[in-house]
């Protein structure tokens, strides 16, 4: 009896060892074959590839900013804050109403400074609203469950996500809202690049999104690495009891982490609105899940990993459907395939470290 069980275990173990390389070979062959056919057919000119790459960079930078929120909270509480995408959605709405208000008052397009002020205020309002929501989420939905098993706050997060989406639906309606950009940064204007004799538009909103994302990422990196608060965040992430013994207010640091994550999500929401144009109560869901994928791709809990993962995912999503000769509707499928592949081949993510027993 015992030997039979043993041999079976041995055999499945052997087959199991083959599965990973087999999947790897299949995926690699498939990707190379599709790449070859697409490139050989020359169905896309260089201008199209540049266009894809630019849109991927912009999208990726937004994913990166959202992914930072996931990764910061995961790093400190080891929970996935599934409501994070909805925090972003509420930030997007806050920015939308701010711009609407400025437009209604005739201030938005009065002159260049007024346009700049409007956009800056929209960002401040969006970030503040998301910050407050994020702190409230922690207080109401997560803090009471701090000592509960890890699945419990996860379920609470999903509940919070549904709650926020439904509140938004009841408050703002199901209609899609179009962001009112100032005339100077309308979505269809920008610089023109000449690639292979064809024009490629680099929208101002895209550049704004990309640059602002980079600034936010650099700012966050400095905050986490250099400041006293950042060091305290890292200390709390490692060992809460010991951090408290150092005089660190653990609850305060966790609240700060949620505040920072929320503010980042709010900024991402306003960028999304300015660049993509359309927002609705469900707008945070897909970017939220994508950003979560990005965080896992880069190594969840790792700040540079989230940035890298976001950019990589954005570019893959924009370039891969064309590169693999697939319909563009499959971009989400490709993005989530990446998640599956990462989990199979490198569960710790690109820059991730091996999870210690305590965290796993």
């Amino acid at each position: 009896m015992a030997t039979a069980v043993q041999t079976r275990a041995k055999r499945t173990f052997r087959i199991g060892r083959l599965i990973r390389p087999a999947i790897g070979v299949v995926v690699a062959v498939f990707v190379l074959w599709r790449l070859y056919t697409v490139l050989a057919s020359q169905s896309f000119g260089p201008d199209t590839w540049v266009r894809f790459a630019i849109s991927g960079l912009v999208l990726g930078s937004v994913y990166a900013v959202i992914a930072l929120g996931y990764t910061l909270i995961y790093g400190i509480l080891f929970m996935i804050n599934f409501a994070h995408g909805d925090v972003m959605m509420l930030g997007a709405f806050a920015g939308y109403f701010t711009l609407e208000a400025f437009n209604g008052a005739g201030f938005l397009n009065k002159n260049l400074p007024s346009a700049i002020i409007s956009v800056v205020v929209a960002f401040i309002v969006g970030m503040s609203v998301s910050l407050v929501i994020s702190i409230a989420l922690e207080r109401i939905a997560y803090r009471p469950l701090r000592t509960a098993p890890r699945l419990v706050p996860l379920i609470s997060a999903i509940g919070a996500s549904l709650f926020l989406e439904n509140v938004a639906q009841l408050t703002f309606g199901v209609a899609r809202h179009t962001y009112t950009n100032p005339e100077v940064i309308k979505r269809n204007i920008g610089w023109t690049l000449m690639v292979g004799g064809k024009e490629v538009l680099v929208a101002y909103t895209g550049v704004l999104t990309f640059v602002l994302s980079l600034l936010l990422m650099i700012g966050l990196y400095i905050l986490v690495q250099r400041t006293k608060m950042g060091k305290a965040m890292r200390a709390v992430a490692e060992d809460k009891d010991t951090a408290a013994l150092m005089g660190i207010d653990v609850d305060g640091v966790i609240a700060n982490t949620f505040a920072i994550s929320g503010a980042l999500a709010g900024a991402a929401g306003v960028m999304w609105g300015l660049h993509m144009g359309v927002i609705y109560h469900y707008v945070g869901f897909i970017p939220g899940i994508k950003a979560f994928t990005a965080a896992v791709l880069g190594g969840i809990g790792n700040v540079p990993g989230a940035m890298l993962g976001g950019l990589v995912l954005g570019i893959v999503e924009a370039v891969a459907p064309a590169a693999l000769g697939m319909p563009f509707q499959l971009k989400d499928v490709l993005a989530f395939s990446i998640l599956v592949l990462v989990l199979i081949f490198r569960p710790t993510g690109i820059l991730g470290e091996v999870l210690s027993g305590k965290k796993a």
């Binding site: 006293k228 060091k231 305290a232 890292r234 200390a235 490692e238 060992d239 009891d241 010991t242 951090a243 408290a244 013994l245 150092m246 005089g247 660190i248 207010d249 653990v250």
Partner: protein
Amino acid sequence: MAMLEVENIHSYYGNIHALKGISLTVEEGEIVTLIGGNGAGKTTTLRSITGILKPRQGHVRLEGEELAPYKPHQIVYKGVAMVPEGRRIFARLSVSENLDMGAYSRNSKSEIKADLERVFELFPRLKERRNQVGGTLSGGEQQMLATGRALMAHPRLLLMDEPSMGLAPVLVESIFEKITEINKEGTTILLVEQNALMALSIANRGYVLQTGEIILHDTAEALRTNEVVRKAYLGIT
């Protein structure tokens, strides 16, 4: 007034009655040691003092002030620092970041700098390794770091939990020398140790714990010659 006064505390882990009425005092400038076997309640006593575990009954007073209303991090601001059991250094933070965290409760940059000098003087090895990540230090170095980190809070009362655990005998001796040195510079120390012989050799007084109760209390001198202690904890017959 005693620096630390623990009066009849009862602490629980869930339903387990871990401390059954512990009372002890630590006078300013003393080294007091708590000795006892595994599960005697030594660590629990320290956890109850730092507020990580709140006693259900009894009082913990620091210079007459009741500590019960304060959270663990607020108690640090009262001048109590702790070298936790198993060192618990922040493995992913560098040595100097670990020391910064020790000084988290303080604001004066010049005072922090002076204390940093003092810690580096006490443990020159930490200075050599200050940019290294904490997790890469050896056990002895980690103990130095945990001790230095606690000193960075400039505590009036230093709680030390098993500083000798898992260290080679040579290192144990040097750690105990440092403890005496820290004490001479004016820090009161409450030392928990399984290595009772070493602890009693540097302490002024000692308490012997057994299953959550204090069974003996005397000067270190007297405890070293006490028949029960010699048999049970010093391994001398």
